[in-house]
């Protein structure tokens, strides 16, 4: 797992991951890129991350992938990320494409639901929590 205080250099990251596994004999490599869209007058999105829980979440996914012979990767930005740049990339390597296609779907969807990352719109330099696009994590409401 890689965290950056900047937009992601997607080509460098994907190229490096590809090189790392050049001789691992994986038949499928499926990258996913999240790009900040220009909408609702935003200049950027901004992110807070709680790294200790994110690392545990990612470690659990690595174990789950390993059990089916696959590898998961991810990188995310902290702080402001301007429109038309990337804040999130992930990827799956696996021996066969079917496993990789299914795993990238589950991995990205669970990332959206349970990775401890908070998103803010940046408008006129102000950070506004994206409450209406955010999802309570599994187990939410236990204290209520």
């Amino acid at each position: 797992m890689e965290l950056y205080n900047s937009p992601l250099d997607t080509k460098e990251i994907f190229g490096r991951w590809l090189d790392e596994h050049a001789e691992s004999n994986y038949g499928a490599y499926i990258p996913f890129v999240g790009t900040i869209r220009a909408e609702d007058g935003i200049e950027a999105l901004s992110f807070d991350i709680y790294e200790p829980v994110l690392q545990k979440w990612f470690d659990d996914w690595q174990k789950r992938a390993k059990a089916i012979g696959a590898v998961v990767k991810m990188a995310h930005s902290i702080g402001d990320v301007p429109v038309h740049t990337s804040s999130y990339v992930s990827a799956v390597f696996s021996p066969k494409r079917r496993v990789a296609l299914e795993l990238i779907d589950e991995f990205v969807e669970d990332f959206k639901a349970n990775a401890p990352i908070w998103k803010y719109d940046v408008k006129d330099g102000e950070r506004i929590y994206a409450a209406d696009r955010s999802t309570p994590m599994d187990g939410a409401g236990v204290l209520s």
């Binding site: 999240g34 992110f47 807070d48 991350i49 709680y50 200790p52 829980v53 545990k56 995310h76 804040s87 999130y88 990205v108 990332f111 959206k112 639901a113 349970n114 990775a115 401890p116 990352i117 908070w118 998103k119 803010y120 929590y129 994206a130 409450a131 696009r133 955010s134 999802t135 309570p136 994590m137 599994d138 187990g139 939410a140 409401g141 236990v142 204290l143 209520s144």
Partner: protein
């Protein structure tokens, strides 16, 4: 004493309290009107491990984190 910290957009300083279980934490946080809009939507971590049982026992020095709704990517 245990410490309760509020993550992301909650924008509240950490607080310390006496609590034997997560239920005690729940009871005390419900008394804070600034948290009313948050508690039903927040998940909880104990020393960075997610927990979802109010009977979870707490010990001196434990750190409880309150995690509001997320949206990575």
């Amino acid at each position: 004493m245990i410490q309760v910290e509020f993550l992301g957009p909650i924008a509240k300083a950490p607080i310390e309290m006496e609590a034997a279980t997560l239920a005690d934490v729940s009871q005390k946080l419900k008394e804070d009107s600034t948290l009313t809009q948050w508690l039903d939507k927040c998940a909880v971590a104990l020393n960075d491990t997610m927990v979802n049982d109010l009977s979870t026992a707490l010990k001196d020095g434990d750190r409880v984190s309150i995690l509001p709704p997320v949206c990575g990517g």
